[in-house]
Symmetry: C2
Subunit: 425 residues, 2 copies
């Protein structure tokens, strides 16, 4: 029965019973974590053979003759560029494979716009105001970068097709301080939304007052499907931008952090020829080159797009049951209450959860008190300020199934308790 239909007395009674349940959870002294999108140990084991692809007796030369042990090659060995290009829908010539972190490449590109400016445009540090579009709910580490640079972040609501394009078009048409947008276009973090073809086309073609407007296209989950039969494939932003006559508008990012090893993967950026030329020029000052031996390992282990696809199916087998468990427990525990909604993603790493307004912080605090760490409430919004205090990101991949079940029991209890507290307040 929906909480909204309960009397004050019925709610108070329910609260008492939930408080008892909560006390029982606390007594278990759990220490469970659903905070970050980390692969589980079983997933990491899938990539152990990668460590055997290179040893002291290996051929350590790239296909173009580069000695991968020595200095040289700024933008990745050819076979690594081809591998990353295959999952980024891009011409390998305009892909750079760098170090282990796509986030670091994004940071460097925001820094680049700020310090040096894109393609001859004025560096943003010389401007009075710089703003950025932040689809919400979104990824806290994206927001942390733009916040560090003092860039004003403008939240834009996500819907089932991506960010609200009417709002975005109206904003960028008028305001030349808006220099970019954060996008996780496929299985978005945390909503699991894949941008529709129409959304991609409108982002690519919309008139922008800022001639140096950039779409930061973080396709972090491009091959991270949960189901064989329901695989999203977001339209290619590069093709759309070219078609619209805005070939320099986007930067695409991808990495193998959640394909092989987080921290020991390889990351890449793909862009127009002009953008890539400018990136290479700056990077050649920034470093003498990235880890080419690790690029070799990845090519030898993953081989090609087909190899990656097969490998990702093994990941899906491990994490799909976790997502299904979360969906089932939310459904069973909360669907009747009328006080929550959540996403049922076909890929990616997260479930986006919305409780009643003004309950997210309380829910996360209650869970913490019972030994279950969630992503902080508000983290999915710029400045960690969720105006409704309703959104919580659930990251189900790290805990083993049994622990996840315990954690979700606690979470459901906390959601209900926070909802009733709010209704009774």
């Amino acid at each position: 029965m929906s909480y909204a239909e309960l009397t004050h007395a019925e709610l108070a009674a329910l609260r008492e019973s939930l408080e008892q349940e909560y006390a029982r959870h606390c007594a278990k002294e759990l220490a469970l974590n659903m905070a970050r999108g980390k692969p589980a140990a079983a997933q990491l084991e899938l990539s152990l053979p990668l460590l055997d692809t290179v040893d002291a007796s290996s051929d350590l030369f790239a296909e173009d003759g580069t000695d991968c042990r020595n200095y040289g090659v700024m933008d990745g060995i050819p076979e690594a560029k081809r591998l990353m290009a295959s999952i980024m829908d891009h011409d390998p010539r305009n892909v750079c494979v760098f170090g282990n972190s796509s986030l670091n490449i994004m940071y460097d590109l925001v820094s680049h716009g700020f310090l040096h400016g894109y393609l001859g445009e004025k560096p943003w540090r010389e401007l009075k105001d710089v703003s950025w579009l932040c689809p919400v709910p979104g990824y806290d580490r994206h927001f942390a970068i733009t916040e560090l640079f003092g860039i004003k972040m403008i939240p834009v609501r996500m819907n089932e097709n991506g960010p609200d394009m009417d709002e975005i078009e109206a904003l960028v048409r008028e305001n030349d301080a808006i220099k970019g947008i954060w996008c996780v276009p496929q299985y978005s973090n945390p909503g699991g939304v894949t941008y529709s073809n129409d959304t991609v086309a409108r982002l690519a073609s919309m008139p922008c007052a800022a001639t140096d407007f950039r779409i930061f296209w973080d396709n972090a989950y491009c091959v991270h499907h949960l189901y064989d039969t329901r695989q999203a494939h977001v339209a290619d932003i590069a093709e759309a931008c070219e078609k619209a006559g805005n070939p320099n508008r986007y930067f695409k990012f991808a990495s193998t952090s959640k394909v092989t090893f987080p921290g020991a993967g390889i990351a890449a950026v793909a862009a127009s020829e002009e953008n890539i030329a400018q990136i290479k020029k700056r990077v050649s000052i920034q470093t003498v080159g990235y880890d080419k031996i690790n690029q070799l390992r990845h090519v030898r282990f993953l081989k090609d797009a087909q190899g990656i696809s097969e490998h990702m199916k093994k990941h899906a087998e491990i994490i799909r049951p976790k997502f299904e468990l979360v969906a089932r427990m939310l459904e069973e525990g909360l669907s009747d209450t009328g006080c929550a909604s959540w996403s049922n993603p076909d890929g990616g790493y997260f479930v986006s959860f919305d409780g009643l307004p003004n309950t997210a912080k309380r829910t996360v605090a209650l869970a913490k008190g019972a030994g279950v760490t969630m992503t902080g409430a508000g983290a999915t919004w710029p400045y960690k300020e969720d105006p409704e205090d309703s959104n919580i990101r659930i990251a189900p991949t790290l805990p083993p199934l049994e622990e996840l079940e315990q954690a979700m029991e606690v979470f459901v209890c906390c959601v209900k308790l926070a909802a009733i507290e709010s209704l009774l307040a």
Copy 2:
């Protein structure tokens, strides 16, 4: 016989014979390279066992229980911090081990001062003028970073004790736009100079108009000795700065790029507790962490300071004969001419060569014409502008001995030819 004592006719005759020799070199169609400080293939082979320290069956947990395969740990696993601390003369708690490139850490720290400011000081982007001290001859990649940020570079002459401290003290006392200095304090690039204790103490204690002045202490060759019996060990800048009451004045850098594999090594920064805290804060926004598996490889292969020292002796055995060959050929070919001087380093990767004024560019061009690539003339000065056009950096490590001998024959011939052309002009 010194060229200065020759008559015009004698010089002209010598030129003709040198031109004939030069033509013979050109006819060989050589393709030799003494441009960059790259280890030779034989040196790279020394570290191949590093690749066997981690395989699919390895324990991949750090000593504190961290799963090195997954996300987490921003500043390096404890055993990697200890390893790098041992060659950096530093407390491991204030060492961060990051990715493969110490140059990238330096770039990020210049960027940090520029964008965000150090320890609450005003970011340099808000200042009208920012200047930097550049000991010359120096490292071109250092100068490229400060040039990219539009920082005005002030050359300061090196002598046998390090940079000219009288000049530096006078400059930093008056000019608060001077925010830093590039230093390669041991076996300097390219001069091979190790800063004297007095130089270190003066750098640490000199009054600076800029309260956010920083010494970028790139101890790239801290363990790169050529001789067992003549090992330099530069005084600890951290200790000197603490003693002088300027504990935040320095950043120390080191890497294993020329210990294990260039590009696939590990790099570190060491600094005061306050500086390290600020670095960690920024880096935690910039990336989700660096390659901890590669850190494990390095710890397991190099073990400790003693292990590194033993390993570096093997490097020395390979490159010492190359340095000795260069010294011998310069001595035999040029000492009588009175038109050249050069360094005889006990470590590091370079020989610094000075010809007559206005001959360096011509010498390098002549060598290029005969198939021998040198570092560009001027590269050892900011903006690539050597006011005397006399300094050339010789990098003898990459070519095998036999090729090096050929290359040096060509070089000596070109030096003499350029000198005589200049004397006859």
